[in-house]
Symmetry: C2
Subunit: 147 residues, 2 copies
DNA sequence: CTGCACCTTCAAGGCGACTTGAAGTCAAGG
DNA sequence: CCTTGACTTCAAGTCGCCTTGAAGGTGCAG
């Protein structure tokens, strides 16, 4: 496949693919008369990159991930990366869920302004799951909550 | 409080606080002889900003959130923002959990390389929760999984 | 009065992840 | 032969979110 075909298949711009190659997250493609040619495995690789990115990995980390994957140090390196990343990803999930709770209950929150909303009290690490509780425990004055 | 005291209390740099003011996410502080003075409500406000940011809101959105909060259109505006943001935040959580599943089971994945890992098969929208399932259903050859 | 910590503004710099633009190359088709 | 379209490189630009640096003001202690 040419770079254009890969881009269409992966939903990226050609510039992004060249950029990925330039920073080493994609291997250097084989050239035919100066032009890059790709096999279907490239699409899989791009999906890995996409998932990693969406999960909060930088392209640098993703490169490390894929590099570890390619050579023999494979799973060891991978586990190290996992160990570093797991707490981060857990914190991300926790915060996201806290905000989600707040968004879903925002209309019923009863707080007159965000500045007094119990949801934003000083954050104790790993207070996840308690957001709803704190909301329920709040005054519930409901100035104009129709829906 | 001076800007320096606020910064220490909030764990930010003074430059960040001035920047927040410059883009309107913090209101313009009262001045004493040209210097900014803040009340304790500012700390609360900064916590709101922090939580919003961590949940994936841009500073622009956070400004809108706080603006809506301040004037009388309050809850209406807020609900609109919530409606726009909820799907995004759900997607974020879903992806993060997918990656989390993969990280926790990475050592036992059985895939020889990421490029053949079932986790990264073409993504059907909202395939969340099935990550573990797909992993379990995979070959499980375990080349060198010691821990 | 001097020194010092802390404050001010404004312009510029930096990072991550790309995109855009200019200028050039190559293979195929009319 | 010449154009067309997809490719090439390289430099510079963009966006969000700040940080850094220069040059200067303020207030209090010694």
């Amino acid at each position: 496949m040419t770079i254009g075909e890969v881009a269409r298949a992966a939903g990226l711009r050609t510039s992004a693919i060249r950029y990925y190659e330039s920073i080493g997250v994609l291997p250097e493609a084989e050239r035919h008369a100066g032009q890059r040619r790709y096999g279907p495995d490239t699409l899989q690789r791009l999906r890995v990159i996409e998932v990693a990115k969406q999960a909060g990995f930088s392209l640098g980390e993703t490169r490390a991930l894929l590099a570890a994957d390619a050579d023999s140090s494979a799973h060891a390196e991978l586990r190290a990366l996992a160990a570093r990343k797991l707490p981060e990803i857990d914190a991300l999930i926790e915060r996201a869920q806290r905000m989600r709770d707040w968004l879903t209950t925002a209309s019923d929150c009863g707080c007159e302004t965000l500045d007094v909303c119990a949801l934003f009290e000083p954050v104790t690490p790993s207070a996840a799951g308690s957001a709803r509780t704190r909301l329920r425990a709040a005054p519930m004055r409901r100035p104009g909550a129709s829906s």
